[in-house]
């Protein structure tokens, strides 16, 4: 497959000094170097590749199917294909990344993993991989997110992980990352940091892309088989950017395929309450890489807002910053309302309840479909909505069954 989109040795995408890099405390550099070496060796080691692919197939249920959404297609006027990452074990694309990183952890001889999580999907995936591979696991999660994703907290605990509620800063994903990094500096000799998205310091963006790019490689093959051609456009939601870069990686060198990333528009970009980092942010350094950031005039990170915990992050992976800057991909915001409408629409047309994150991709793609009638649009359905039922219950006012039975005559 296409290998053209790569970082240089310092982790820069789009040329030295542009996006990516490694802005990290010296204390963590040795661990990042160790990880980079272990990863590069493993990716060319047939034993590792075999083990990783075996786990993906036999444990995670990959390759996920490419599903033709006929009723949604009729509704939208475009031919809609869904990459069903929601059917993976643990319910999202995140398991791919985690299995790769957890196997690396074993190879490096470390016994404990830590992870940050927003929606809880990466935390659940990490706890799952840790249970399966016999590693200790601590997951950091913002206090706000532990409340809106309580079900996932319980899942992690049942899987044997310790969940730490983070009360600093905005008490969401960015603060969970801060706290995980603080743990890591003190525990780095025996602990690996399973980073949950394609962001952070080099080599994480590249490493994560290498583990999730199966999404795009499979989808490209499946689309060719199903339709006899490539899609006209592909779409994914963008939080930190892992599911999106996983999909995009398979199509970057097909210039005829238009690429769309959908960021969380929250209450609307003009309200200032959103997480549309590329669309409305500016270039800065956050969590180890230079990328787009939501920040004020002094470079203080501004709190992001989204109904979706997994997209509620004021940074984004440097690969997406580079793809936006080069014009290869287009990044657009989708509001909370549009995403929730799309969640309900997919549920009622296809009988599939998407994660609210993924619903952003559906909503954005439906907008794109208006200009692309009759074309094929392939959407990454990054996760399932089970974890979001609490939010849906409040938002749609669900959960109370009708009190009377219907008269029959």
């Amino acid at each position: 497959m296409t290998q053209g989109f790569e970082a240089d040795v310092h982790g820069w995408y789009g040329g030295a000094g542009s996006f990516g890099g490694r802005f990290m405390p010296e204390a963590l550099i040795a661990a990042l170097d160790e990880l980079e070496v272990a990863w590069q060796k493993s990716m060319v080691d047939p034993t590792f590749v075999h083990e990783f692919e075996g786990l993906l197939q036999n444990y995670a249920g990959v390759p996920s199917m490419l599903y033709e959404a006929h009723r949604l297609s009729d509704h939208s006027g475009a031919r809609i294909l869904l990459k069903r990452e929601d059917l993976n074990h643990t319910g999202a694309h995140k398991i791919r990344n985690v299995l790769g990183q957890a196997l690396l952890t074993k190879r490096m001889g470390k016994t404990r993993v830590i992870a940050e999580t927003g929606a809880g999907q990466h935390g659940v995936a990490s706890a799952t991989a840790a249970a399966y591979l016999g590693l200790d696991c601590t997951v950091y999660m913002g206090e706000v997110d532990t409340e809106r994703q309580a079900l996932n907290v319980a899942r992690m605990q049942l899987l044997g992980a310790e969940v730490v509620s983070v009360k600093s800063g905005s008490r969401t994903l960015k603060d969970a990352i801060n706290e995980a990094l603080r743990d890591w500096v003190a525990s780095v000799d025996h602990t690996a940091y399973l980073f949950g998205t394609a962001a952070g310091p080099h080599p994480f963006p590249s490493l994560v892309m290498s583990f999730v790019r199966g999404i795009g490689d499979e989808a490209r093959r499946q689309c060719l088989e199903l339709t006899g051609g490539l899609p006209d456009a592909i779409a994914a939601c963008v939080g930190g950017g892992s599911n999106a870069i996983g999909l995009f990686a398979g199509f970057l060198e097909d210039p005829e395929v238009a690429i769309y990333g959908f960021e969380a528009g929250g209450d609307g970009v003009d309200t200032g309450r959103h997480a549309a980092t590329i669309f409305a942010g500016s270039v800065g350094v956050l969590h180890g890489s230079r990328t787009y950031v939501l920040q004020d005039d002094d470079g203080q990170t501004v709190e992001s807002h989204s109904i979706s915990a997994g997209l509620d992050y004021p940074g984004v992976g440097p690969q997406h910053a580079a793809l936006a800057a080069s014009g290869r991909a287009t990044y657009l915001p989708v509001t909370d309302t549009a995403a929730m409408d799309a969640m309900a629409l997919l549920a009622r047309t296809e009988g599939i309840i998407p994660a609210i994150e993924s619903a952003h991709a559906i909503a954005g793609a439906l907008e794109v479909a208006k200009e692309r009638q009759g074309e094929t649009i392939l959407i990454n359905l990054s996760g399932r909505g089970d974890k979001d039922m609490g939010t849906a219950l409040d938002y749609f006012g669900l959960g109370t069954a009708g009190a009377t039975t219907r008269e029959t005559k």
Binding site: F23, E26, K174, L181, L286, D298, G299, Q300
Partner: protein
């Protein structure tokens, strides 16, 4: 006029002792209160002052410094307030550095920041999340003005990286002698001695005479004395912050606590 920290290190060395380096974030508890606290530390015996630039995502800081920085941010501190604090403290004649995470500098403009720091009389920067291999802009801007560039070494640093880092430093090398975030600790670190020895060996080759300052959560004179036995500078942060946090709303009591702590530490570096 900007005074390099090397002036203070030379003086301490001539006295046959280590230098005492004191840290507080700017704007804590307020901008004026912070200036008052820092000048109190100067009056009571700090040889070098580090002023923290409060940042929303301080990944290297423990709860104590986080709490102080958050208080400064909640108070609406701006980068220009930090520079104003530098100006006030540097006016005492004590070399004054800013310790800052990288993004606020990048946002302000690296060259503009260097110029305004220079104009304020600041000695230079300590950059906890910027290593020399990712610092070409800062190195250029600092060298153009003879500002101090203080990069960090850690127990996990390889000898190659220590050599690269010490070669890029000006003023001193900051040895973080525990693996962990900032915060006062009861015990001194057994990682510190070996790290300082490795750093000194590298300095011998690349930058003879460059001092090594050690930060590991020192909070009293006895610990300061121990660190002073192998390091050129003893860096104290969380303990000063704690002294102020323990006296909320009582500036006089805070000042007395800072003075007492500084005097204890100053005796330590002379023991």
């Amino acid at each position: 006029m900007s005074t390099s920290v090397s002036v203070a290190y030379d003086k301490a060395r001539a006295d046959g002792r280590a230098a005492l380096v004191g840290y507080l974030p700017a704007g804590f508890p307020t901008v004026e209160g912070g200036i008052d606290a820092l000048t109190t530390m100067v009056d009571a015996g700090c040889d070098i002052i580090e002023i923290g630039l409060p940042y929303s995502d301080p990944v290297m800081d423990g709860p104590t410094i986080q709490a102080a920085a958050q208080q400064a941010l909640d108070g609406g501190i701006r980068t220009t307030d930090v520079l104003r604090t530098v100006e006030a403290v540097a006016a005492t004649g004590v070399p004054t550095l800013i310790m800052t995470y990288w993004n606020p500098v990048e946002r302000y403009g690296v060259d503009r920041f260097a110029q305004d720091l220079y104009d304020a009389g600041g000695a230079g920067l300590i950059t906890p999340d910027l290593t020399p291999d990712f610092a070409p802009e800062w190195i250029t801007a600092a060298d153009a003005r003879d500002l101090d560039k203080v990069f960090l070494v850690a127990p996990s640093s390889t000898d190659e990286r220590i050599a690269m880092t010490t070669a890029a430093c000006r003023g001193f090398v900051y040895a973080t002698a525990v693996m962990g975030v900032t915060g006062a600790r009861d015990a001194t670190s057994d990682l510190a001695g070996p790290l300082v020895a490795r750093t000194k060996a590298a300095i011998e080759v690349s930058a003879p005479g460059l001092p090594v300052g050690v930060g590991l959560g020192v909070s009293n004179g006895a610990q300061a004395a121990e660190v002073a036995s192998y390091a050129d500078g003893v860096i104290v942060g969380s303990a000063f912050v704690r002294a102020l946090l323990d006296h909320p709303g009582d500036a006089d009591a805070g000042r007395r606590a800072l003075t007492a702590l500084t005097e204890d530490l100053a005796r330590g570096v002379r023991a």
